[in-house]
């Protein structure tokens, strides 16, 4: 066995209580760090999952990011033209079938055309503004989780029943309607048609459940007053994280505004970045505090062992080799603590998962979401090991800089 390792092992193994305290400190630090990382990442991923499930990964609308150029612009380039109405522009995506067919050739996922308009549900004296999306039930399954979010009725009921709608659970409760009931749907006083509630869904996002309804494309076009209107394309990708890149490419290809779910929720994701930073800071602080136990122990050992340090130096052991002994001691304490910390962290995560809490967003009681990842264990262990080595380095350096003569004279 290496000499320094042998001495280090002897030091830590003959100080069982101190070693256990140090190991316990590291284990608690690592364990709670893993638990906290699992908890925070779990809740974040769970929230994002709901968000991503509740909306298309990419939404293309019949819109552009900047106003289109005016004839006067090309005729009189030097003259700035503003506030000129685009009188020839017709609502909707041009040649939607061709666009969909073109996108389907390369988009890694599914594309569905739809109509999105603002509408009003009228039931007696109640008039509730909603967002109406006209969909094709056959393609909807490929671009949204609506089929799995159905609580009453089926998605395909939209195709079976004439003039039918699917509404969110909160809206249904607000209106006091159930499947089979009829309500009036319109876009104002001009167009109003009776529709039957064919199904009720719950996305988990209260805002969606309160204001989103679905109908067939034809019903939506009637309400919009424009036959053949398609003003929205919805894309669902195999990998939601690719949405930003795909959206950019789609927009470049067809010219319409193409918004990824990341862009649509950029403010929220920005908040997550701050949340991640806070999480990392807290985790780092926890690991630093846990390494204080190691610092304390190594400081004590180096103080107790100053005679040994002096004699080892006087015998001809180089300073860095003496220093290495105490670094190894910290690494031993840290390593064992990390192993116990991993186990502790894992079981704490398992324990937390058994607890159910009321989710104010979804309005449901669900188990606490925990995210398990090797990265959490590696990062927590790595940082903890570095902290332990750092905690040992400074007292060890101080101790090994002591002049052996001073110690020897003092002892004599």
């Amino acid at each position: 066995m290496n000499l320094q390792f042998g001495i280090a092992w002897t030091h830590v193994s003959t100080r069982v209580r101190q070693t256990l305290v140090g190991t316990f400190g590291v284990a608690v630090g690592v364990g709670f760090t893993i638990m906290m990382a699992g908890l925070m990442q779990g809740s974040q991923i769970d929230f994002l999952q709901q968000l991503v499930d509740a909306m298309p990964h990419i939404t293309v609308t019949d819109d552009t990011r900047t106003a289109g150029s005016q004839p006067a612009d090309s005729q009189y380039g030097a003259v700035g033209v503003s506030n000129a109405p685009n009188i020839n522009r017709r609502a909707g995506i041009r040649t939607p079938d061709a666009v969909v067919a073109s996108l389907e050739t390369w988009v890694p996922g599914a594309v569905a055309a739809s109509v999105k308009i603002n509408a009003i549900i009228i039931q007696g004296p109640a008039r509730v503004g909603v967002t109406l999306t006209g969909i094709d039930p056959r393609t909807e399954e490929r671009v949204s989780k609506l089929a799995t979010q159905m609580r009453q009725g089926q998605l395909n009921d939209l195709a079976r029943a004439t003039n039918s709608i699917i509404i969110g659970l909160s809206l249904a409760q607000k209106l006091g309607v159930e499947v089979g009931n009829s309500v009036m749907l319109g876009a104002g006083e001009a167009v109003q048609i009776p529709v039957t509630v064919a199904g009720i869904f719950r996305s988990g996002l209260k805002q969606v459940d309160e204001s989103q309804i679905y109908s067939s494309i034809r019903v939506a076009q009637i309400i919009a007053g424009q036959t053949g209107l398609i003003n929205q394309l919805r894309l669902r990708l195999k990998d939601p994280l690719m949405a930003q890149n795909v959206a950019t490419r789609v927009e470049a290809q067809i010219g319409y505004k193409s918004v990824s779910w990341q862009e649509a929720n950029s403010d929220l994701l920005g908040t997550f970045a701050v949340r991640d930073f806070i999480m990392l800071t807290v985790m780092g602080a926890m690991l630093m505090v846990s390494s204080l136990a190691t610092y304390n122990i190594i400081s004590t050992i180096t103080y107790e062992k100053r005679h040994d340090i002096a004699i080892m130096k006087s015998l001809g052991m180089r300073e860095y080799k003496v220093r290495r002994i105490f670094i190894i001691e910290a690494a031993l304490i840290g390593s064992v603590g990390i192993l116990f910390g991993w186990v502790l962290g894992y079981f704490m995560c398992i324990g937390l998962q058994q607890i159910t809490v009321y989710n104010s967003i979804s309005g449901a009681t669900r188990p606490i979401a925990i995210y398990y990842s090797w990265n959490q264990y590696i990062v927590a262990g790595g940082i903890s090991l570095l902290c332990a080595a750092g905690a040992a380095f400074f007292p060890a350096r101080k101790a090994t800089r002591v002049h052996p003569v001073d110690i020897i004279r003092g002892a004599s």
Binding site: L3, H11, I311, K313, M317, R318, V405, S412
Partner: protein, 295 residues
């Protein structure tokens, strides 16, 4: 120039000052050359600078001025790591307090310098450590920890540790200071035997009777050699004329810096014959045997 083989330990105009609110001169211009196989005792009153001189000679401390030459190697310009290497291979230390590592057995303590030097194989180190402990009468104690040994046994283990790397020079700072009379005699006998085996031994002691058994005794007062006595010679040289002026009683000592008559140096001729320590206590039989076969 002094032959480094003949004189493995030399001090040239050695000065050690400690700076503070008041500057203290612990060692004040000492010239010294210690012959191979010589047993040199350094005596003097408390605070005279004898331990400071010993630490300078053993490279535990660095001089303010002057030079310590060990086996022909000038050490003043060496880095701390190089000085550590010289200590590891050429010097063996014994202190008043044994300074054994308390968690380690006697055997492991003796193995420590050998494992640090890492020259021999594990088996060779083990064999040599057991051999040394055996020669010092500790063959039944090798697996005991320091707290299970008596004071004399601990000091003998420390001696075995000092001898582990076969150093040219053994430096001992009051090695019998904490021992009873019997153990003192035993340890001194061992040191005597070490010198007889060809290793240079420099011992600081307060015990005049023990110092009288050394080949040469120098007395330090105020950081200077005040007196040099060679064993078997009743004459004393008590001049105290400043550094390097204490003359050898033999009168023909070479100066450590090469200038005859300036240094307190040993007689060029061998010291007068002395009564030797019990041969049973003499360590390093291989050296002894070699000498015997050679002589």
């Amino acid at each position: 120039m002094i032959d480094p083989v003949e004189y493995p330990l030399q001090a040239i105009n050695l000065v050690k000052r400690v700076e503070g609110t008041v500057t203290h001169t612990l060692v004040n211009g000492i010239d010294l050359a210690v012959r191979k196989g010589e047993f040199l005792a350094i005596t003097g009153p408390s605070g005279s600078g004898k331990s400071s001189l010993l630490y300078l000679l053993g490279l535990l401390d660095a001089p303010t001025e002057g030079e310590v030459v060990i086996c022909g190697e000038e050490t003043s310009k060496l880095s701390s790591n190089e000085r550590a290497d010289v200590r590891l291979t050429k010097c063996g230390f014994v202190f008043q307090f044994h300074f054994l590592l308390p968690e380690f057995t006697a055997l492991e303590n003796v193995l420590l310098p050998m494992r640090t030097a890492d020259i021999l194989s594990s088996k060779e180190m083990d064999a040599r450590a057991k051999e040394l402990l055996g020669m010092l009468g500790l063959e039944t104690q090798i697996h005991k920890r320091p707290n299970q040994l008596s004071g004399g046994q601990r000091q003998r283990v420390a001696l075995a540790r000092a001898l582990a790397n076969k150093p040219e020079i053994i430096v001992a700072d009051e090695p019998t200071g904490n021992l009873d009379v019997a153990s003192t005699q035993q340890v001194f006998g061992i040191l005597r035997g070490i010198a007889d085996a060809g290793q240079t031994v420099v011992v600081v002691t307060h015990d005049a009777a023990l110092a009288a058994k050394a080949d040469r005794r120098i007395n330090i007062v105020d950081g200077k050699i005040s007196e040099t006595t060679v064993r078997g010679d009743a004459r004393h040289a008590a001049h105290g004329h400043g550094h390097g002026e204490a003359a050898s009683p033999a009168g023909s000592a070479p100066a450590a810096n090469g200038h005859a008559g300036e240094a307190a140096a040993p007689a060029q001729s061998a010291p007068a014959p002395v009564a030797r320590a019990p041969t049973a206590a003499a360590p390093l039989p291989e050296r002894t045997k070699a000498e015997e076969s050679g002589g």
